[in-house]
């Protein structure tokens, strides 16, 4: 028993966690007071997730100790964490799609409770906190925001003293985020402490009373976010100065249309896919068109249709006026279209294969000298790999490492570089900087801008509104498989786009900018 921890709710002392020789967490100290909203800030890979997993009992620290209300505790598993009064809402939900809200919650409760009791209690709590939920609704019918509510209510039913939220707004619209903040503030005023994990600075400043900033597994600062500027917080988080993106000339409205999409409809293959409903737009030479929207509103399906991973009617998609809806991804690449998919590992790259093999993955049939007859020329593949890594500043541990050993940012630079290095007429990118560190993200955005300046037509699908406002000339929003009309970025604002993300937009038939 220590005296120092007596009034703190939670105290971490010198917590370390190693993965082999890699220090994921290095002597972390952290103190959380009752009723406080405490931010844990850091870039992807800074060690935030590792730290909270130890708090929630799904990982064990290698060094250091955890004090809960002043007493040292060992949190062996999530059930023990819940018994102490720690609740957690994960970034990736752990809900059964086919079960109802009440059934999902019952799974996390002690076995002796009746389903009807749970249903009654959860509806009472959800009403009380302004988190409307129907106990009998099936999860697969719920929006992402509603699913998150289920997770939050599930935690609240256990009356936690500490609620951990991991990147809760990454799946929410700005409006939904505001609603969430109201709930969190109310919980805080009632004495529940909240550990809020994020890399979004504006949110942290608006919501949190204290912040602990992690970088490379170490605590670099403790601060009061309200006393800092966004820039000073960003600098603490990233370390070095943040790259400023060069301004650019926007594409001309009279430039030729490279990609034309007309009346694109596609029925979702499974119950969990979104159907595309009469999507119309075009992208011109030299411009960046951005599509905003919350993940799961048809963006993946749109990307699959554009790339040719899913065939459509020929006329629905045209590249340079040529109908391509029925063509394979290979044939579209031969027409000068390049694709950068959302998932880097397992879609844009084979995780276990070397970078040079991953060059072969999308460049076969396109590059000179990459094949002789049926055989691959690995020497050419390695040369192309060297060129990409040099031109796009891909940092890697050794000469030709497997794709999975690269960090998210470096792999994304490699993947983008691979597609555009030989010159591209049309580049379609889904979530270009998702899970990428700030330095690489800035470089990737600059690459896209440069490509447009060189005359490529670029379509960027992204969840990151800041990014879209920064780089795109025109913006449209996707919601439930429908696409709004494109408007020039200068003529819209975040609120307007945010509203459209919820699906509130008029149906302009044959809309085209």
């Amino acid at each position: 028993m220590t005296q120092t921890g007596a009034k703190h709710l939670l105290q971490l002392e010198g917590i370390s966690k190693y993965y082999g020789s890699f220090k994921a967490n290095d002597r972390i100290d952290l103190t959380i007071e009752p009723g406080q909203i405490h931010a844990l800030l850091g870039e992807n890979g800074a060690g935030k997730s590792t730290l909270v997993k130890m708090l929630y009992g799904s990982l064990q620290p290698d060094e250091g100790r955890i004090l809960w209300q002043g007493a040292p505790v060992v949190i062996g598993n999530p059930a023990e964490a819940r018994a102490l009064g720690i609740g957690m809402v994960f970034q990736h939900f752990s809900l059964f799609d086919a079960l109802t809200v009440a059934e999902n919650i019952a799974l996390a409760m002690p076995k002796d409770q009746k389903l009807s009791d749970i249903a009654r209690r959860l509806e009472a709590i959800s009403k009380e906190y302004g988190l409307p939920l129907k106990a009998g609704a099936r999860i697969h019918d719920l929006s992402v925001g509603e699913r998150q509510r289920v997770e939050i209510v599930r935690c609240l039913l256990q009356e936690p003293q500490l609620l951990i939220l991991d990147e809760p707004t990454s799946v929410l619209t700005p409006q939904e985020s505001e609603d969430l903040f109201k709930v969190l503030r109310r919980l805080s005023s009632e004495g529940t402490a909240i550990l809020y994990i994020s890399h979004k600075l504006a949110e942290v400043q608006a919501l949190c009373q204290k912040a602990t900033i992690l970088r490379h597994g170490e605590v670099v600062a403790d601060c009061v976010p309200a006393n800092e500027t966004t820039l000073s917080l960003a600098k603490m988080m990233v370390g070095d100065d943040i790259h400023e993106i060069a301004p650019r000339n926007t594409g001309s409205e009279s430039a030729e249309v490279v990609l034309e999409v007309k009346g694109l409809s596609a029925t979702g293959l499974t119950g969990f896919e979104t159907s595309l409903k009469n999507v119309n737009f075009s992208v011109r030479k030299g411009e960046i068109a951005g599509i905003a929207g919350i993940a799961g509103n048809g963006q993946s399906e749109l990307f699959a249709a554009l790339s040719g991973e899913r065939a459509t009617a020929p006329d629905m998609i045209k590249i340079d006026g040529v109908p391509v809806g029925h063509l394979s991804i290979l044939q579209r690449r031969k027409l000068g279209a390049m694709f950068v998919s959302e998932e880097r590992l397992g879609h844009a790259a084979v995780p276990e294969m070397s970078l040079s093999d991953n060059v072969v993955l999308t460049r076969h049939g396109l590059e000179k000298d990459l094949e002789t007859g049926p055989f691959i020329r690995h020497s050419t593949a390695r040369k192309i790999k060297d060129k990409i890594t040099e031109m796009f500043d891909v940092r890697k541990g050794n000469e030709d490492p497997p794709a999975m050993s690269l960090s998210g940012g470096n792999l994304q630079k490699f993947v983008l570089g691979r597609e555009v290095m030989a010159g591209a007429k049309l580049v379609i990118v889904n979530q270009p900087t998702w899970g990428v560190d700030a330095g690489s993200a800035a470089q990737l955005r600059q690459n896209l801008i440069d490509l447009a300046a060189e005359g490529a037509a670029i379509l960027v699908i992204s969840q990151d509104l800041d990014e879209l406002f920064e780089i795109s000339d025109r913006l449209a929003t996707m919601a439930e498989g429908e696409l709004s009309t494109f408007v020039p970025t200068g003529e819209t604002n975040r609120n307007e786009v945010g509203l459209k993300m919820t699906g509130v937009f008029e149906h302009a038939a044959g809309a085209n900018a």
Binding site: Y19, G20, F22, Q60, P61, V74, I75, G76, N77, E80, S307, G308, E309, S328, I329, L330, R333, F339, S341, E343, G346, H347, A348, A349, V350, P351, E352, M353, D357, V360, L361, T362, H364, G365, E371, P374, F375, I376, P402, S405
Partner: protein, 361 residues
Amino acid sequence: MRLELIKRSAPAPSMRILSPLLGLFLALIAGAIMFSALGKAPDRALYAFFIEPVSEMWSVHELLIKAAPLILMGAGLCICFQSNNWNIGAEGQMIVGAIFGAALPILLPDVQNFLILPLMLIFGILGGMLYGFIPALLKAKFKTNEILTSLMLVYVAQMLLDWIVRGPWRNPEGMNFPESRRFHEWARIPEMIPADGRANWGFVIAIIVAVALGIMLAKSLKGFEVKVIGTSPKAAQFAGFDRQKMIFFAFLLAGGCAGLAGIIEVAGATGQLRPTVSPGYGFTAIIVAYLGRLNPIGAIVAGLVLALTYLGGEAAQISLGLSDKIARVFQGLILFFVLACDTLILYKIRLTFGAAHKGAA
């Protein structure tokens, strides 16, 4: 004290090689225990099982005869399994290949020239491919589980063979034994060194096929396609590789190899069709593929090892008076231990002592 599995940060390349050796070693230990439980001196039994069969020239020849179909089918299955197509029916494809190839000398016994043997081999390959085509079509068109269909088709093939040698193809001069007529000389695969033993050129064919498949897998775009489709289906789609076409490619390739193995077996070692063509070579080939690290070149070594278990089984029967089912047990042990040791490629083992890990590790 307890054992803990710790995930490695990257797969250990050394373990990829060591795992099958370790698996073999553990299978030997388990075998020794089994022999002592049967009341035999384990050292003498293991000697009789694994060393004696290769201590004489004629029995080395027998080893090569048994290794040829195992290597051929194992190499084909390596490609099939790597592409995520689970063909369990090589045994059936081998039988149908044997029937197709044997049709020529049985139905046209008077056609005797140098063309007959190459034609038989081609017919054998076609038969195996045709039989592999069935589960491929069912999988591609109706999403049927290929493990079940290819396995069930083995029993159909066995029944077909049984019927054909007792009925329409029974040797008219064979005193009603359930056997086909004996193949004439032109329809037999010549022996390599007749003075030493019975081994025929089928073994060389097997080696050539395995090496060719090894090169295809390592160097060609098709081989690359096989690996990508197997490890990362979505990336394969992104690369423009067609999974549906790969189902047919994999099954036709593995089926063709099995059909070739079938005709080599009957035109080489037996010289006629009998109610059974293979003592389960098609199933043992699955073990060959895994022991050979799903690499056709590795399948050559693995094929020789598993051929030894067949010889060992016969030796155990003769010199130890044990059932030749012992061979089956050994094959099972080898597969079991090799798959278990494969865990070590991705994980390492840590021994923890004391009880200080109630929660904290």
